[in-house]
């Protein structure tokens, strides 16, 4: 098998960064951990987080930036001229993403590239992105990816899988894109046999089987009153979620010119469903809360055959009110629907 010794990791990252922009798990100064570009890595202040289980901010920002310009325009007399479009096709590598986050990218592919519409902004980024996934062997307290049908040691959507054996990574290319990046660092790889790590047991296990079906009849169930009771309706869960993809399209103008951009939106905000005529179909926290979990666990599954939760556990760790999607899945599973 091919091995990348951790002593050569920085060297490998430098080489990869010569061919593409490499985003990897980093704690940036005193700010939150997330996926940041290797070229901005500051040895004095930043910490490489490849040895940590994961980082708080998922890599979704790389393929689907929180704010992105779509096109700019200029008004000329009666007409409008499009002065620029902003498709981004620079070569990119996401290095060290975990299986939960890779599975979330797989879901983005479903949303942005299938069912009759291709999102060109997403597509050009995605086509030029190589995913080097870091197989997971030591699940954290709030990880439950296996419960959501994800194999942590065999990440989906990966072009290369790396497996951490302590002082080295096993390096395995899975696609032609993967072979190509492997070529970039082939001088740093060695060939020897090492023992594969063993997957440790999960602390959090939920039973999602049948939950999507059951939810079809639970729209008016009293459980939503209770579960949403302490939700304060902020957007943390949606923004730290690797798979939440809702966005809004807005415009900024100055004088006779401006640009249209899209930005992440959150179904937890009342403005999200605010209609032009003044009505808001999800004016209450309970309604927004219910919609979020129905989308994750029922609607998305209906359309794409998989849930929109990949069990990364970030929302569980970051929710100020301690609301846990794992607990919610279990509560739904156990809920009495005969009443």
């Amino acid at each position: 098998m091919q091995i990348l010794d951790k002593k050569r990791l920085e060297n490998a990252l430098d080489k990869l960064a010569g061919t593409a922009e490499v985003f990897l798990p980093v704690k940036k100064g005193t700010a939150q951990s997330g996926f940041y570009s290797w070229k901005t890595f500051d040895k004095e202040q930043d910490t490489l987080m490849l040895d940590a289980l994961n980082v708080l901010l998922p890599p979704k920002n790389v393929l689907f930036p929180q704010t992105e310009k779509m096109y700019s325009f200029k008004e000329e007399g009666e007409g409008i001229e499009i002065t620029g479009t902003y498709e981004d096709s620079k070569a990119t590598i996401i290095f060290g993403t975990r299986a939960c986050d890779a599975a979330a990218i797989e879901r983005f592919d479903d949303v942005f590239l299938t069912r009759g519409y291709e999102d060109t902004l997403y597509k050009s980024r995605r086509e030029n992105t190589v995913i080097i996934a870091n197989a997971c062997y030591e699940p954290g307290q709030n990880c439950f990816c296996t419960s959501m049908g994800i194999n942590p040691t065999d990440p989906a959507a990966a072009d290369v899988i790396i497996r951490d054996t302590g002082d080295a990574y096993i390096w395995e290319a899975l696609s032609s894109k993967g072979e190509k990046v492997t070529g970039t660092i082939s001088g740093l790889l060695e060939s020897r046999e090492v023992k594969l790590p063993e997957l440790k047991s999960f602390n959090t296990i939920v039973d999602y089987n049948g939950v999507a079906e059951k939810l079809k009849n639970m729209f008016e169930h009293p459980i939503w009153d209770r579960l949403s009771q302490t939700c304060q309706s902020c957007g943390i869960c949606t923004y730290v979620c690797p798979s939440c993809y809702c966005f809004d399209i807005q415009v900024k103008t100055r004088g006779n010119q401006g640009y249209r951009f899209r930005c992440w939106d959150s179904c937890m905000y009342s403005e999200y469903t605010q209609m032009a005529g003044g009505h808001n179909p999800r004016g209450d926290v309970k309604e927004r809360f219910r919609n979020r979990f129905l989308h994750k666990l029922e609607f998305f599954n209906e359309r794409y055959g998989k849930p929109l939760c990949t069990g990364c556990g970030r929302c569980i760790a970051a929710c100020p009110a301690g609301i846990s999607i794992a607990e919610i899945i279990s509560e739904i599973k156990e809920a009495d629907t005969d009443a």
Partner: protein, 302 residues
Amino acid sequence: MKEIGNKIREIASRLFNDGQVDIFIAWRKGNVDYQTKPYIAKSIEDVNNIVFDEYSIHVLSNYLLKFRDGKEKIGIVVKGCDSRGIVRLLEDQQIERERLYIIGVCCPGMKDPLKAMKDHSGLTEQIETTDGLAAKCLACIEPNPVIYDEILGEPQEPNQKGERFAQVIEIENMSPDERYKFFESTLSQCIRCYACRQVCVACNCRGCIFDEMKPQWVGRETSVSDNLMYHLVKASHMAGRCIECGECERVCPVNIPLMLINQKLIKDVNEFFGPYEAGMQYIEGAIPPLSVYKEDDPDNFI
């Protein structure tokens, strides 16, 4: 603390039994030792879920806003910070005093379950000071409830020691360019999740400027200029209202030092219009300094 927890459950049972409350706002345990979370008991059967322990940090007074339009009679447990939040809500006429039965607890300072959750989830560099008191509790100037119907525990000394505004003074002493750079770099991290607004007891407006679309006062891009605009506008609205509970900074998922901004305003309001500390005592009809106009108000900073 175990004893206080028992007493809270006793009181809650009594209040439900006597029909004195319809709901009771307190805390319950999560799945792990280091997580305690807000809880709203709706009947005497729920009382057994109520806990009070060293992780009961979440400020509960904000939850009263969920019930401001109702008629429910509400029991609520408050520490020093939560109680100052109640004073603010009463001053702003967001809830009627008669609807509340307030159980005050003298607070020795709490640990932060959010920090512990992140550390134990493998999302930080590894467990550092999970056992210590939360940063916001080390900055606390009033651990004892300032408004209550019943009080539990022995009065506590404030944890805040030394120069209260040391960090603010440090920023004040920067050159304007350094200061701009500092705020540009910290606020550029903001992901606009609005958690700082949602947990804030002083943010009790029904409609918020940041949700307005017609006109849209503040852009939704996570650009430095829109982020600065969000935080500066929000902070200005906090002047004379921030009770220094530190919840905004504690819940921020991207570690923005929001209390620095709030503390600067606390310091300024105190210097210009004070002495004043928001929500320290409830006097019926009292109005916070920036809600009144006086001819001799200082204006030399304009």
